[in-house]
């Protein structure tokens, strides 16, 4: 294992010198397992909600480290604080106490505008409700994150088309969300999450509104992103079966991490062709 790691490192370094290689979708290196670099670090993170006079702690000092290129599931029953944890990781909310490092930057001290910038550039969101903008077409939905980053129009259109083709929706680019099935909408959302080529994909119950087959299909896409595009994926779910796709599962209960284990299905589902690609 140790031997493999060092091989990886070398290949990563080599590729980084040519960031614009043949990859249409990602400028990041292909599957790097540089396990030493933490892309996300939660250090003693507390989130306390004020409900009238009562203080309700949703997170009680959790510590999570996520490596670059890792696929982590945060699992727990409802009320366990998993959504809160994900909002923290996604820079959507700031902790009451503690620090969150995203790519070595402490987001707990950032302004709203900086957080928005970080979200737009480094994080791609996939939601249970798909959360597409209903007035816009699939293509425009995928383009929207790039609009917020002020990318030129030609680049946006081109990239959005590539991404939609990647999720097998190349023939649906001008359809509005209401004209698409749930699975198709979630794939548009996946394409949108990749728009600005973020390092981290955050998926909140990505299969929660889908039937089993479609859900598995979506999970396979996520695996592919993790495997081929070397995206770091953080997924929140209460569904054990879905969680098993992840490399690592952190189980959250009452705002604390109670267990950390390896996902059973990860190697089978996500690393099918890993050997070949890792050279």
């Amino acid at each position: 294992m140790a031997k493999k790691k060092s091989n990886d490192k070398m290949s990563v370094k080599g590729r980084n010198k040519h960031p614009k290689t043949d990859l249409p979708v990602s400028k990041h290196k292909s599957k790097s397992k540089e396990k030493h670099k933490h892309i996300i670090e939660l250090r003693d993170v507390w989130k306390i909600y004020q409900m009238g006079d009562v203080e309700v702690p949703a997170l009680k000092g959790i510590n999570i480290n996520i490596h670059e290129g890792e696929f982590v599931a945060i699992m727990g029953p409802s009320g366990s604080g998993k959504s809160t944890a994900m909002n923290m990781v996604g820079c959507l909310d700031i902790p009451t106490k503690g620090d969150i490092y995203l790519d070595s930057k402490n987001i707990a001290q950032m302004t709203e505008s900086e957080l928005a910038q970080i979200r737009g550039q480094k994080i791609g969101f996939i939601f249970q409700q798909f959360n597409l903008i209903t007035t816009l077409t699939a293509l425009e939905n995928v383009m929207l994150p790039m609009v917020f980053q002020d990318k030129p129009r030609e680049e946006r259109v081109e990239r959005a088309k590539v991404l939609l083709e990647m999720v097998n929706l190349g023939d649906r680019i001008n359809h509005k969300p209401t004209e698409l099935s749930g699975g198709q909408q979630q794939r548009v959302a996946i394409a949108r999450s990749l728009a600005n080529d973020p390092e981290v994909i955050l998926a909140d119950e990505p299969t929660g509104n889908l039937d089993t087959n479609t859900g598995t299909n979506v999970m396979e896409f996520l695996c592919k992103l993790n495997n081929k595009e070397s995206k770091t994926i953080v997924m929140v779910t209460h569904d054990e079966e879905v969680a098993e796709f992840a490399e690592r599962i952190e189980i959250l209960r009452d705002g604390e991490i109670v267990q950390s284990k390896k996902g059973k299905n990860h190697d089978a589902a996500c690393n099918k062709d890993k050997g070949g690609r890792r050279r």
Partner: protein
């Protein structure tokens, strides 16, 4: 980026269809009121100015009253005798006084017949006095001189290519007045007043001989004072004289002695008061319209809370959300403004057209200037954005987490 936001705003407004229209009604009624009433007011001001034959701070005019709107002195029940001018000349402080005659004549040119007013120009020294009072200058050819017979000077509008004859009248052309041929010797400079630009100047003897009955009456008596300060005293004395002459009691005068300039000023100030009133009404309407926009935008923020959360989570900054919503309200204002201007212009010109048909005169005129259109448009946009600021600010401050969770 802005074009994308514009498209987003447009899509959102389209989606809300009926509600967008209802919101805009407030704006476009206000703008339409402003545009049409200011437009008509400007036209009316021009028309009123045109009712006065001559101006000057040291000038008085005498007319028999009971006058309908039309050329001065016409249609009076008891016209002024043309001999009374000799008495007026004896009033202290009067420098010059002379009769003025106006005839309604049939005018024919290029096989087209119209009816217009022929105005007399006195002979001798009084000619210069009148020309100064009326501020008459020739643009083409010359003005009349003593002894000109069968010669006329035309108002400026006859020289325009799109006049009633469908052919511009030039100096040297011959034209028929009451079936008598006249030579055009000059064209006056445009005075911007309907009456003058459509008038025909004829020497007094010629007018009395050929175009008007010489029945011992006059239409207007023009008086010029030696000193401006004497005007009120002269006015009083002339009124006294006329009361005696016409055998009427004070307070029951069937004539008017007025200083045209003062009357014009007071009419203009009345008109201004009317316009001010209209401005106030329109302002209230626009204020209500603006509040309508604000209300709609607040509703939109509530409706699209989730959408705002989504956009924030995919990288929209507070300022981006603010801009998106502000564009949307500005758009509402501007589109409302465009519709309002269209309605207002059509209303003003429509009313002027109806007036022309119904009254047979061009008294009601519309004049919608470019500045009025541009000003209204800018104002509508500013109004929309102004009332959109608060809702847009509220939208921009929404927390992404709570917004996304809000039920759609």
């Amino acid at each position: 980026m802005i074009t994308d936001f514009l498209k987003l705003a447009f899509e959102n407004l389209r989606k809300r269809g009926l509600r967008s229209w209802l919101t805009m009604i407030g704006i476009f009624i206000g703008i339409a009121a402003v545009v049409s009433l200011i437009g008509l007011g400007e036209g009316l001001r021009t028309a009123i100015n045109a009712q006065f034959g001559f101006l000057g701070p040291d000038v008085l005019s005498v007319q028999a009253s009971g006058v309908t709107y039309g050329p001065p002195g016409q249609g009076a029940v008891n016209p002024l005798s043309d001999e009374i001018v000799d008495e007026i000349r004896k009033v202290g402080g009067v420098e010059v006084a002379f009769n003025r005659y106006i005839a309604t004549v049939k005018m024919e040119y290029n096989d087209v017949q119209i009816v217009t007013s022929a105005i007399s120009v006195p002979e001798g020294d009084n000619r210069k006095v009148l020309e100064r009072m009326m501020n008459v200058k020739s643009e083409e050819g010359r003005l009349l001189k003593d002894g000109d017979t069968r010669k006329i000077v035309l108002g400026n509008s006859f020289a325009e290519a799109d006049n009633q004859f469908d052919r511009s009248v030039r100096v040297g052309d011959s034209i028929l007045l009451n079936d008598i041929g006249y030579d055009v010797v000059g064209v006056m400079e445009s005075k911007g007043s309907f009456l003058f630009d459509n008038a025909v100047l004829v020497n007094e003897p010629e007018l009395l001989n050929s175009l008007r009955d010489d029945d011992g009456t006059t239409d207007i008596i023009a008086i010029k004072a030696k000193n401006i300060n004497d005007i009120p005293a002269i006015k009083k004395d002339v009124e006294k004289l006329l009361r005696k002459e016409r055998d009427v009691d004070e307070g029951e005068e069937d004539f008017i002695v007025e200083s045209p300039q003062q009357t014009l000023e007071s009419l203009n100030s009345t008109l201004f008061a009317v316009q001010l009133f209209v401005y106030i009404i329109a302002t209230i309407s626009l204020l209500v319209g603006g509040i309508g926009i604000m209300n709609t935008m607040y509703t939109a923020v509530v409706e699209r809370t989730k959408e705002i959360g989504i956009m924030k989570s995919i990288g929209a900054r507070n300022s981006t959300i603010f801009t998106i919503f502000l564009i949307e309200s500005g758009f509402l204002g501007t589109v409302g403004g465009i519709i309002g201007i269209t309605l207002g212009v059509s209303f003003a010109y429509g009313l002027a057209f109806i007036g022309k048909i119904a009254l047979g005169s061009e008294l009601i005129q519309a004049h919608v200037g470019l500045w009025l259109i541009l000003g209204s448009l800018v104002f509508a946009f500013v109004l929309g954005t102004f009332f959109g600021v608060m809702p847009a600010y509220q939208a921009s401050k929404l927390q992404p987490v709570e917004s996304i969770r809000s039920a759609k």
